[in-house]
């Protein structure tokens, strides 16, 4: 897909820089520098520029920093992978549907693991996720032979719509990725032309919270494990030697008792009887006044769920927080439908239109119980409508069966021959030779013959007239 826009009449025409002979980075000025350098760098996140490697390297490691963030990313990805997909061909050409099914089933080896790699890049890289479209020839319209996940770290963006990116191979070579051979999925691409479409991924959005939660969790972990120096106790009336002896004695005592986590109290033997002991404490690390751990965790969970497009109830139970009743939970769940990976899922469907034949469509299926309930409710209404049409004799029984078949309420096996064109394969369907349904037909000895149309019969008669003469 080359640049479909004729930019000659657009003020953006000079923004296009044809890429040739390698990767070229041109930084013409600050790109949201105040935000990136001034604030985010305080937390250790590199600036957001068109060269994404340094920043994305940090963002990609974020699941290793905070367990709850890792869980949110994992759950969001697993929900998407578990959805599955359907392939439908409106012309009922089984070969097309099967080819499309194989194309997606074999995405980067196999669909499930390929999609997990792809979605991690989408959620954890400002550079987004990249898919290579391997074609049979160099022609941009030639047949698609495979889809491959490309490591986002190895992709460098250009400002050329015909060659939007370069891929750095493991041998340090750069391969151009023409627009017809690559697809990019970026979350919230920047409107800044100098950023070349670099996005703001979920990890970017959640970064500050991740860092804060990591610090909080580290503090509490160290506190309960007794491995930190929480304070300096100034003790007078005790010699340095006595203090060291006491510390060694406490460590040895703890080891002897098999304590791993808790060091216990430090006992210092032998006071200097000439000076009365005194005791002063200087806190080194302590939680601020009014700090509420649960409140911080709740806020973090909400931000994580927003960032990765999860329903908050997927991360923490809603009971006891005023949001626990079913109605409120449902409202929150429905509001989460349009977030995060929902946008990605739409991008993916649009992408499939680029590589599928015109009559073949890709759609995500749903494994969610709410969606299935809605589907059941819809089917109940459809059955009621068709029953009413049948009762009022607007349609007859075969027509009613056909309508039920088209609405996917009646299974094909229970209906007479489908007279409406269209074939569907799901990601769980096997090629026809192996399906139980086909084996069942084999047991019946005869594969159902095709439903011949009057036009086909007339065409056959006309051909025979040509061959045999009008007789």
């Amino acid at each position: 897909m080359t640049d479909v826009l004729d930019r000659r009449r657009s003020v953006t025409r000079d923004d296009i820089q044809p890429a040739s002979g390698g990767v070229m980075h041109i930084l013409l000025g600050p790109a949201d520098l105040a935000a990136t350098m001034g604030i985010a760098q305080q937390t250790g996140l590199p600036a957001r520029t068109m060269v994404t490697y340094a920043r994305d390297a940090v963002l990609r490691a974020t699941p290793l920093m905070d367990g709850m963030w890792a869980a949110a990313v994992k759950k969001s990805i697993q929900k998407q992978v578990a959805r599955g997909f359907t392939i439908e061909d409106t012309k009922d050409v089984a070969t097309r549907a099967r080819r499309a099914q194989e194309l997606f089933e074999l995405f980067d080896g196999d669909f499930e693991s390929g999609l997990q790699r792809h979605l991690q890049d989408f959620l954890l890289c400002d550079n987004g996720a990249w898919v290579e479209i391997a074609r049979a020839t160099r022609g941009g319209a030639s047949r698609v032979e495979g889809l491959y996940h490309l490591d986002s770290h190895r992709i460098t963006r250009t400002r050329d719509p015909n060659i939007p990116a370069y891929y750095q191979t493991l041998k340090n070579g750069y391969k151009p990725l023409p627009a017809d051979f690559v697809a990019n999925f970026t979350d919230m691409p920047s409107p800044d032309v100098l950023l070349n479409g670099v996005g703001l991924c979920a990890a970017s959005v959640a970064w500050e919270t991740i860092v804060k939660m990591q610090a909080i969790e580290t503090y509490f972990r160290e506190k309960v494990s007794g491995q930190n120096n929480r304070a300096i106790h100034l003790v007078s009336g005790v010699t340095d030697k006595q203090l060291k002896q006491g510390l060694l004695s406490a460590d040895a005592d703890a080891v002897q008792k098999g304590f791993i986590v808790y060091k216990g109290a430090v006992l210092i033997p032998g006071f200097d009887t000439e000076r009365p002991p005194s005791f002063v404490t200087i806190p080194l690390a302590d939680i601020p006044d009014g700090f509420d751990l649960n409140e911080e965790r709740e806020r973090a969970d909400q931000l994580y769920s927003h960032a990765v497009g999860l329903f908050i109830g997927d991360l923490r139970p809603l009971t006891g927080q005023g949001l626990g009743n079913g109605q409120q939970a449902r409202i929150l769940e429905e509001s989460a439908e349009g977030m995060g990976l929902a946008a990605w899922a739409k991008q993916w469907v649009t992408f499939t239109k680029r590589i599928n034949p015109f009559s073949t469509t890709f759609a995500w299926s749903s494994s969610d119980i709410t969606d299935r309930t809605k589907q059941a409710e819809l089917q109940t209404k459809q059955v009621a409508n068709i029953s009413a049409m049948l009762a009022s004799q607007l349609i007859d029984i075969p027509q009613a069966q056909q309508l039920l078949l088209d609405a996917k309420i009646l299974p094909k096996e229970l209906a007479p021959a489908d007279r409406t064109p269209g074939g569907i394969l799901t990601d769980e369907d096997q090629p026809s030779e192996a399906t139980p349904g086909v084996l069942l037909k084999a047991a019946l000895l005869i594969e159902p013959p095709p439903e011949l149309t009057e036009a086909e019969l007339a065409a056959a008669r006309a051909l025979l007239d040509e061959v045999l003469g009008n007789g």
Binding site: S359, L445, L457, A459, L463, V467
Partner: protein, 181 residues
């Protein structure tokens, strides 16, 4: 395989191969190719019925041929749609076209079995192996009027599950007084 049928298929393969070569070289459009292909099919099916011993120009012969040719035209429209949608010629199409050549087996066996009311014929597309079917009908005429015992004989060791099931079920298929019982 029956020698006459083998020769018929070879002749069909040559004709169909010519049409595919013309398509590959872009001497003809997919639409022209489809018209040429359909004409080759009709001629081949008529020849096959004649080779099976039935006059294709007779009313009953025409009725049989109308059905077998229309069935192939049905599949051909799907093939044509694939070709029209594809950006370039694909090598696999020649093998696919070859399956149409083998479809002449259906009218051939219709003739060889004297147009008996058999539920299926080899290569008529009603098996999982479609026109690649290597099976045959063995018909034994019995005493009386229109009494036959018909055996579905497998000709290949790698028969599909439909053919294996047929061999068991139709051993024999009994036709008495012109009707399957």
């Amino acid at each position: 395989m029956d020698e006459r049928l083998r020769r018929l298929i070879i002749r069909m393969l040559a004709r169909i191969g010519g049409a595919m070569d013309a398509l590959e070289a872009e001497r003809i459009t997919p639409q022209q190719w489809a018209a040429q292909f359909a004409s080759v099919l009709a001629q081949g099916h008529a020849d096959a019925l004649r080779a099976g011993g039935v006059n294709p120009a007779s009313p009953v012969g025409r009725a049989v041929l109308t059905r077998t040719v229309a069935t192939q035209l049905h599949f051909l429209s799907g093939f044509q749609a694939v070709i029209e949608d594809a950006p370039q010629f694909e090598r696999g199409w020649k093998a696919r076209a070859g399956m149409y050549a083998e479809s002449v087996g259906a009218p051939y066996w219709a003739g060889r079995t004297k147009l008996l009311p058999l539920p299926a014929l080899p290569k008529d597309g009603s098996t999982l192996c479609k026109t690649r079917c290597g099976c045959a009908w063995e018909v034994q005429q019995l005493e009386g009027d229109n009494n036959y015992d018909c055996y579905w004989r497998r000709g290949k060791r790698d028969s599909c599950s439909t053919c294996i099931a047929r061999e068991r079920a139709w051993a024999p298929l009994r036709i008495r007084e012109g009707r399957v019982i």
